[in-house]
Symmetry: C2
Subunit: 425 residues, 2 copies
Amino acid sequence: MNAPLDTAVDVKAYMHTMGRSARAAARALARSGTAAKDLALMSMAAAIRARSGELLAANRRDLEQARAGGEDAAFIDRLALDANSVEAMALGLEDIAALPDPVGAITGLQRRPSGIEVGRMRVPLGVIGIIYESRPNVTADAAGLCIKAGNACILRGGSEALASNQAIAQCVGAGLAAAGLPESAVQLVQTTERAAVGELISMPEYVDIIVPRGGKGLIERLARESRIPMIKHLEGVCHVYIDDAADPDMAVRIADNAKTQRYGTCNTMETLLVAAPVAAAVLPRIAAVYAAKGVEMRGDDAACRLIPGAKPASEDDWNAEYLAPIVAIRVVQGIDAAIEHIGKYGSQHTDAIVTQDEARAGRFLREVDSSSVLVNASTRFADGFEYGLGAEIGISTDKLHARGPVGLEGLTTQKFVVLGHGEVR
Amino acid sequence: MNAPLDTAVDVKAYMHTMGRSARAAARALARSGTAAKDLALMSMAAAIRARSGELLAANRRDLEQARAGGEDAAFIDRLALDANSVEAMALGLEDIAALPDPVGAITGLQRRPSGIEVGRMRVPLGVIGIIYESRPNVTADAAGLCIKAGNACILRGGSEALASNQAIAQCVGAGLAAAGLPESAVQLVQTTERAAVGELISMPEYVDIIVPRGGKGLIERLARESRIPMIKHLEGVCHVYIDDAADPDMAVRIADNAKTQRYGTCNTMETLLVAAPVAAAVLPRIAAVYAAKGVEMRGDDAACRLIPGAKPASEDDWNAEYLAPIVAIRVVQGIDAAIEHIGKYGSQHTDAIVTQDEARAGRFLREVDSSSVLVNASTRFADGFEYGLGAEIGISTDKLHARGPVGLEGLTTQKFVVLGHGEVR
């Protein structure tokens, strides 16, 4: 494993040394075959299982410090590892090993009138910088995805998880070494100095892509300051629109699941839109479900008239990502008004329509400009595992490059390859 | 056509008004079908032909001002239109109309264990801001590509071409109107105030992507200041490596063409690398061709010993994008040294190997991390038309999203679509 920050060395020099090592490791990794990468992943999993005692001991040290620092229960929950979550990390790495290697294939080869054959080859992005918060399992997941896609990475986890992350990174390094790959393919920023993040996003000569994971405020700040392109996730103000041609039972089931299956995830529905002609039939049923689960309802006038106990919604509610048992509810004239509402207030993350009308489903799919658009399914499906990507490094709300859940393919790029026979122009 | 800047309105308000109109037009364009978009393109071409007299008169006014302002012959050449270049603009728009519509198709639909079907739909990016210099034909080309891909655009051409660009934009607007599409789908920034560019790259609420076209200095500055993602082209320090397993005649032909077919293009070779075992056999032949064409040669010691009249190359020469009849020449040990040189000094644009050895060709393709990598063909082929993309908005040296020549597909993105039957998690 790479060295921690020596107090005699400044942060900039420390980060630049990591950057240079990462660049060199990326070249080696881009050359390495699937077998070596998969062996590294399997060896990392084995090391994590073999050293689970050390991992948990390191995690206990982090937890003690966090409790002493007065962190709240939710924070402690995200930071804590146990035997199950350690095993889940090992299984996650084995799952990534089992995924097809995205790198190296040439596709779409076509002969041009000039005689040259032109195609595209999928290749690694290079060096990926990942900035995340307190969950230590990200260290193993992110390292695994980057390695499989042929990238080196520099990981900067939350300061509070440093001991846990160091212990996991030791296992990752052991796995790389067992496969004959450079250990500097995965490096951990081993300092809690905040300036390290500033350096990481300012070294385009060493880092090709930044993947920030965290709250909206952190990511907005990083996006403003970064000199390196990002694959990022800002927020999920997700909608379900119940059309007047919806199956009522399906509408109730989806509105329930999209809001209440988990409150804190980015693909949880925050605003429910209901077509006026069916509002009286479905809204009271949905409201009863929410009331039973303790979900606070904030509606427009029409919704409040149909829902006993609903509070009036303000303009802020249409923009809100609650991440909590609160839902905004609006009665709209029909699909045009629904699409307009989503275009105005949505975050282009994930939006769903419930309808039996195929033409309207088609319009919603085409005209709602979000990374995931669903027909007759819960917004909660917007997820790399549910989509079959095998794993995800995050969900992108950007439009360039990767949009929506980002798996191995999103950690690669394509170059043009030309096979000629001496052709000139 | 949109209005010019009124002196009573400030630049920020002017640009924001354009941005709002563009956002609304983008929604309409995303909904419009292939037939309407193609009719608009054909009508633009017809308008350009019908009004060619007005176009040329406007261009004469720009030329007079540019000459009076002391612009040099190369500048005047880029600015000037004639009957042929006007016809080429019209033909270019008709060619774009004939390309397949990239938008709307759902691909890769797969049923997941949960029951949902997941696929991807190709959709427009939204609003594209294009910043370019003095060539007026970019106004027609860029508008055509954006419209076909379903995007609205805001065009900011060089101040010196304003009258020409206004005349072309009138024709573009007439074509949009003839097809029933909003004229604000293509808007021209009609002020020479430099602050307009600053506003254009600072309105992420209205503009999704910036495509800057121009010199490296301009683009570096825009990239530093932009708050909006860019598809950009920095520089082309392109290489040809003549391997010791090269066919000597082919090597001479490709080294000649890659350097001399055109000197000022980004895919022109700037550095020639030659494997030591064949240097004595091929370098004098190549040097004779260059000498006959007046190409200045700057070599390392080994190259200078083989080339009469070659000057010694300095470290700067390996980094240089000459865009001129100058070539840097280096004798290297073999393919490893060639790949290392390209990794150290290249700009990840376009690099070629000449070899009859398939294993080395494969290594070069995989290990050279450039947007285009060629085997036995001239670097001059790295071009959207030569690659069969139909047309190009530029060549990207970025790694995210579009890499290499960017055609219609690069002006679109993909969203996930989910077809469900009431599934919940």
